[in-house]
Symmetry: C2
Subunit: 514 residues, 2 copies
């Protein structure tokens, strides 16, 4: 566990301390670095076709940018064809503007520099569940999330060596008024973790509050030059960006902070049912949003996002872990690489209500494409249940364990002399087991990923241990983690400044549940 050193009082000032933090030597790897080429489901011709179709959509149908005159004016000035809120883009315009200024990859800084993450290229960053109104654990079942649950998930993500990011709305803290909870959420990420975090997007003012709190933490100048917040800007598919999201997008882009432009597409509802159509529409919508971000502030970090699910014929509900969204994910990852921007998709998605075999099959069938496709920023990597309606405590630590396996996988095969172990085979000869050989003894400790959740004991030992299933074992894991949680150090001056800001803001307008 990376723990920040005790704060030195005022020595060198806040900027000096920040620089010291940011330059600290990295011990734990703060994100995955893939050495393997991504899996591809479309060839050059197929990818070009999708790109052509996205441009056709942008040119012929266009996107609506609703409730944001500033956005409309910026797009018009840049050469788009504006008709009310409908904006049509000449073929190639979006791609050209994005490629001119959007960074191919960027660093999102954490307040502990050892936890700063690279977003884009060969990096993969795992962030926890986002947006669930409910939480679930084996003891208390399903219930509305609270700020205490929120803090618990922040603490679990902080403590997990397999999660790289604190996420955003890890669950909705419904015991806090809607119009003030963003302050408590952002504070929790800063106070209870020192991993990077996400900002509020439910109102442009809340985005500005997030940026202000980031400035109090990292310093104003540092924030203006570096991404310290990344935020999820969802399209209102099909082909609509609405005013709230556009306002939040502009607030973050103006502050040079990162945004993830994500069409959320339940195929058959927000787009046609077919994968190739979902891809073209996703690309068109996301490019429209990224284009606006570059017009607001050229160079502001943007991420191409894709969230696509299939649909149940029976219930009309989104389904997960099915083959169709996996195909979309692989194709979109390739399209993002061609465009030259980081890519967000995937996670440990499932429709199951509980942390059972359905949950695990579906989550694995999403996480594998996520990693093999080369997703750069992985929201919902841990905790997601019920199509996102609930965040599960047991599911959270189970998923994190799977993320840990992925970190080993993406390093690929060790082809060093030690990895080849030819001498060990030569010395051992036919019929002699390798359990006690020098090579085995030298490598055994680090040879295999060790799961915290799996039971690999004999059947008899498993019975003696109570015949527990994976969820029951996971229940013990998260409780043990929370019981041993220790907060990372936080400069008291920063803590005070944040608390003052929050108190002032909370007092300045009445509670509201919208």
């Amino acid at each position: 566990m990376t723990v920040e050193e005790a704060p030195r009082h005022r020595s060198g000032g806040r900027a000096g301390r920040q620089a010291a933090r940011l330059n600290r030597a990295v011990e734990r790897l703060p994100f995955l670095t893939r050495t393997l080429a991504p899996f591809e489901v479309l060839d050059e011709e197929g990818l070009s076709l999708i790109e052509h179709n996205a441009d056709t959509i942008l040119e012929e149908v266009g996107l609506e940018f609703r409730g944001d005159d500033v956005a409309i004016a910026l797009l018009k000035d840049a050469g788009a064809d504006v008709d009310g809120v409908r904006v049509r883009f000449p073929r190639g315009m979006c791609r050209q503007l994005i490629q001119a200024t959007a960074p191919r990859e960027f660093t999102q800084y954490a307040r502990n520099a050892a936890n700063s993450v690279q977003i884009g290229g060969n990096a993969t960053v795992f962030a926890p569940n986002y947006g669930s109104p409910f939480v679930r654990d084996l003891d208390n079942g399903r219930r509305y999330g609270t700020i205490e649950d929120f803090r618990n998930f922040v603490k679990l993500a902080y403590m997990s060596p397999h999660l790289h990011h604190s996420g955003g709305t890890v669950c909705e803290p419904v015991d806090v008024p809607v119009n003030k909870r963003h302050l408590d959420m952002v504070y929790s990420h800063i106070r209870y973790s020192d991993k990077p975090f996400m900002g509020s997007v439910t109102h442009p003012d809340r985005a500005r509050d997030t940026v202000e709190m980031a400035r109090l933490t990292f310093g104003e100048e540092f924030v203006d030059r570096n991404a310290v917040v990344i935020s999820l800007i969802n399209a209102n598919s099909p082909l609509v960006w609405d005013g709230t999201m556009l306002g939040a997008l502009r607030a973050y882009a103006e502050a040079n902070q990162a945004t993830i432009l994500t069409p959320f597409i339940l195929a058959g509802a927000m787009a046609p049912v077919t994968a190739a159509a979902v891809c073209a529409q996703t690309l068109a919508e996301s490019m429209g949003g990224m284009t606006l971000a570059q017009l607001v502030r050229p160079g502001a970090p943007v991420v191409l996002g894709s969230f696509a699910s299939s649909m149940s014929m029976q219930s009309g509900a989104p389904t997960f872990g099915t083959p169709e969204p996996a195909l979309v994910l692989y194709a979109m990852a390739a399209l993002a690489r061609r465009l030259g921007v980081p890519f967000r998709s995937g996670g440990s998605l499932c429709a199951s209500k509980v942390a059972d075999a359905q949950a695990a099959y579906e989550s694995a069938a999403t996480l594998q494409p996520t990693v093999l496709g080369g997703v750069n920023f992985v929201l919902h990597a841990a905790g997601w249940l019920e199509g996102g309606l609930a965040c599960g405590y047991e599911k959270f630590v189970m998923d994190a364990d799977q993320c840990g396996m992925m970190a080993v996988f993406v390093r690929g095969m060790d082809l060093s002399d030690n990895g080849q172990a030819l001498d060990a085979i030569r010395e051992n000869g036919p019929g002699q087991h390798f359990l006690g050989t020098a090579h085995t003894l030298a490598n055994f400790e680090t040879a295999f990923y060790r799961s915290e959740i799996a039971d690999n004991n004999s059947y008899e030992q498993w019975q003696e241990d109570g015949s527990l299933d994976a969820a029951q074992r996971a229940n013990k894991v998260w409780k043990r983690m929370l019981a041993s949680y220790e907060a990372p150090a936080l400069d008291p001056a920063v803590d005070e400044a944040l608390s003052d800001f929050i108190a002032r803001r909370k007092a300045s307008f009445p509670d509201s549940d919208v």
Copy 2:
């Protein structure tokens, strides 16, 4: 469900009927055909290095061929360096002999031609669990398998549209004497299914019994010209082939039947702990076995097999779903392609004792590499629990459901005009959902894979339905399947010949449990 037509009595003779069966038009797809290039974890240099190391092992250390003078003589005549049971192969000898005569791919014929499978190339064949002494279901827990359980799994594999093969020892029928159970097992595959099946390998005589029963079913000449049985020949790693397996291998090769030459490697015990060493040793051992098969009968179908697992530090037990065996699988698949032989590995492997989240995560983390790596013959695709000690009824139908998803995935993305759906997007426009559009209605039925196991209803509906987990729903699925089972037609003359043969053989030697 493919059901064979009612047998026509003696019209055209058995050969004529067989020909008619074999030429029947295929309706259901009898195996997966991948359209996507396999995922690769090693480049040309890495793969050449492993091949070089395999040849070094074969040349310097050699393999032991124990208890089989015929095998030793064949290898010596072919140019190997023989010292007692130790056989060393000049660099390149095995590869050259295999590539000279072993088929790149072949058809394994089923008695219902619609169920014949292609083994090799871009085909992937899913076969059920193999070799478990125990069975498990939710009602009766874990217990020794019986011939009734055996028949049940044969029936479930027959009825599943997602499994292509009847497998072999789907569970051990421990209520039948060890030295006679192969007769009941082979008969069950022929009688209760019409998918292709596997033969006995526990004694050369039992292999010959299998071939004899195949001849009674398919006709002697047909069997001599075509593979109708495929059998699992396991190495006794490290670097040993033992007499029982060699005898069975020779029996099948002499009869032109297919064999899968599979080193079973628990890394750290039967090979060094490192993946590159496991790959080189696996390749060396399997090539040694394939070489012998080609010397016994040039052109006899052989499959390169790899079964590699990691190991628990705590218990020394094999572990599954971990990243290291996945890397081995991907590399071995590439090595088999380069050698030019079909490849067997993977499945739905897990260490979990029950069909819980651990079982599902681990199985999915094995099945994804199995499919993305391009495995041709997938044993243990359904049912496997406890590192193979038990075959689970619920796990069986859950895994089969996952195999069904893979069949959709490997087809890749539909880029037809209908798949692109540009007109649907043009006509719909921004902000209008696609639920009732003509394109959605025309495609909805076939747009998404429909799981038989997953619950995709609302939380409230799920509660009303009893808050069942996936295993509880699967329990209902396999019971419903068995309740509606109808045996495929079998020519009464064949059935009688088989029964006569079995009765004669059983009467000819006393029961034994070895």
